[in-house]
């Protein structure tokens, strides 16, 4: 449905997007993940025809966005980082304007009603946009993207600035939309893509670091499994014992501490399951394990790992040396 190939975009001497290629299939939800300034918004802006690339092509449903912009744009619903709202209009006026702007051919009243229903805006349709809360504004932005029923929906950081309840609502909404549309969303929150997307593209410094289905990403990134353990017992002895347990590669103590228990992060080497051996080791010493949970990597750690892998070894050691 969407095909991006060899996209390059430079702002002055700074390369914002550096030879990015990926494609998104029909009905797929793609998560575009990266830290601030990674080139996410730039890529999305190029895909929607707001910016032009220095080189490379974007095809939406087989149509090149530069060659036939009008036809390609008709197939895209775009929610930019900051929803493009006219504060002086009411929600109804605004959506009506977008409806006309996109030159839609549906039954106007019915179509707007549907869109408002999906985005739960029916109650505020008569209100002036500037008086709405941030969450509602975001929803008006999403509604705007849905008008005209485009095949491809592109959301740039759709949950930024929302409260937890609204975040969950927006995620659910995106998941529902993903059933009928191809959705591309950008975010810098790892758990968000894990919760919503079928596939993850991680970019940093304008380059793609990883392009994989969601389930395989965490295991691909982290070849070792990590567990967070809460154990009642003397810290130093427990630590030594943990190191001795079969399959354990690395142990560290966290700063979390309760009255008589300590928390450890234990990492195994490879795919060895260390849970049993740790359990027996602790029971030998009569130190009860009162908590054990798999520990995912935070986004920062994922980046550290990926960027470390991407860099040639010599450069990595140079960087480490400089740091030291």
């Amino acid at each position: 449905m969407v095909e991006v190939s060899n996209l390059v975009k430079a702002f002055g001497s700074k390369l914002a997007v550096d030879d990015i290629s990926f494609s998104v299939g029909d009905g797929e939800i793609l998560g575009f993940l990266g830290p601030n300034g990674a080139g996410k918004s730039t890529t999305l802006n190029i895909m929607t025809g707001y910016l032009s690339a220095n080189s490379g092509t974007v095809k939406i449903g087989g149509i090149d966005i530069l060659e036939k912009p009008d036809e390609a744009k008709k197939q895209i619903g775009f929610l930019p980082e900051q929803p493009p709202l006219y504060p002086d209009m009411t929600v109804d006026e605004y959506l009506g304007f977008v409806y006309e702007l996109k030159n839609c051919k549906y039954n106007r009243k019915k179509h707007l009603e549907e869109v408002c229903q999906v985005t739960k805006l029916s109650d505020v349709r008569g209100r002036v946009i500037k008086n709405l809360s941030k969450g509602y504004k975001q929803r008006v932005g999403i509604a705007q993207a849905l008008i005209g029923n485009p095949k491809v929906l592109i959301f740039d950081e759709p949950t930024v600035g929302l409260d937890p309840k609204q975040i969950i609502e927006v995620r659910n909404l995106i998941r529902t939309l993903g059933r009928e549309h191809t959705v591309i969303l950008s975010t810098h929150i790892l758990s968000e893509v894990q919760a919503v997307c079928d596939r993850i593209v991680i970019i940093n410094g304008g380059k793609i670091l990883c392009d994989k289905p969601t389930d395989s990403v965490s295991s691909a990134i982290n070849k070792n499994s990590r567990y967070k353990l809460k154990i009642c017992g003397p810290q130093r002895e427990v630590m030594t014992a943990l190191r001795e347990a079969e399959g354990v590669e690395h142990v560290e103590v966290t700063s979390e501490r309760e009255k008589d228990s300590c928390t450890f992060i234990v990492e195994s080497s490879g795919t060895v399951d260390i849970r049993k051996s740790v359990f027996y080791k602790m029971s030998e010493n009569n130190w009860p394990i009162i908590g054990m949970a798999p520990e995912g990597l935070s986004l920062e750690e994922v980046f550290m790992k990926l960027t470390d892998e991407a860099e040639p070894v010599s450069e990595r050691s140079k960087r480490r040396g400089r740091k030291a």
Partner: protein, 234 residues
């Protein structure tokens, strides 16, 4: 394109901008009109139109300053630029909306002539010729104002910049009086919007000048489109 035009028109009248523009325009032109004709007990409108052009320097930017600057600031231009509307369509829609408001206000201001007709004997051909000329000058100013507005995201900068450019184009004629070089004078005379209006005030409908105003307007609208095209590649 129609959608943008309609939205612009609605925006003029749901905010104070449209009303303020009309009020200031009518106040200023009414004042100039009574000053130059009624108080002078003259039915000659030449001075009125000349003064009115000076008025336009300040009034027209009020109309155009927000056209693109505000969209850029509120990021709403992202919606316009990613929707299936051409850049030319977008610029034309905005121009036509501003022009409609301007034209409507000029039509209202034509009530003044009624007073003149009741108490004097104006040269109607000249009055109408000058009015048409001033509408052309106005649309030319609107195009320039929109161009300046497209360059910035600050409305104040847009307004002041436009005033500067317009004042320059009009005042060139005044500076001309003190320049010795015939050649420079010729060029300035050719460029100056004000000098080109002289024939209108003399009662001649100068097609060359009319064409000049229209092409000036077209050039700046074209530049507006180019500004947006260039920004994409920036």
């Amino acid at each position: 394109m129609l959608a943008i035009y309609k939205r612009e028109m609605r925006a003029y009248f749901t905010t104070a901008q449209g009303y303020l523009f009309m009020a200031i325009f009518l106040c200023a032109s009414g004042f100039l009109f009574s000053l130059t004709t009624l108080l002078m007990q003259s039915s000659d409108t030449a001075t009125y139109f000349q003064f009115l052009m000076y008025g336009y320097i300040v009034i027209i930017p009020l109309l155009t300053m927000k056209s693109f600057a505000e969209e850029k600031k509120a990021k709403t231009e992202q919606l316009l630029l990613t929707s299936p509307v051409s850049l030319t369509g977008m610029v034309m829609a905005k121009f036509l909306a501003a022009f409609t408001l301007f034209f409507g206000t000029v039509i209202i201001s034509m009530l003044y002539y009624l007073v003149l007709g009741l108490y004097g004997e104006p040269n109607w051909a000249k009055v109408i010729g000058c009015t048409v000329g001033m509408i052309l000058v106005g649309s030319c100013f609107i195009a320039i104002g929109m161009f300046v507005s497209a360059l910035t995201e600050n409305q104040f900068v847009a307004a002041m910049g436009t005033i500067g450019v317009l004042a320059g184009l009009v005042v060139v004629a005044v500076i001309n009086g003190i320049i010795d070089s015939y050649f420079v004078r010729l060029i300035f005379d050719w460029v100056s919007i004000y000098s080109r209006f002289t024939n209108f005030t003399n009662g001649i409908f100068d097609f060359a000048s009319a064409f000049y105003y229209i092409s000036m307007c077209a050039v700046f609208l074209f530049l507006c489109v180019r500004v947006y095209e260039k920004r994409r590649f920036a």
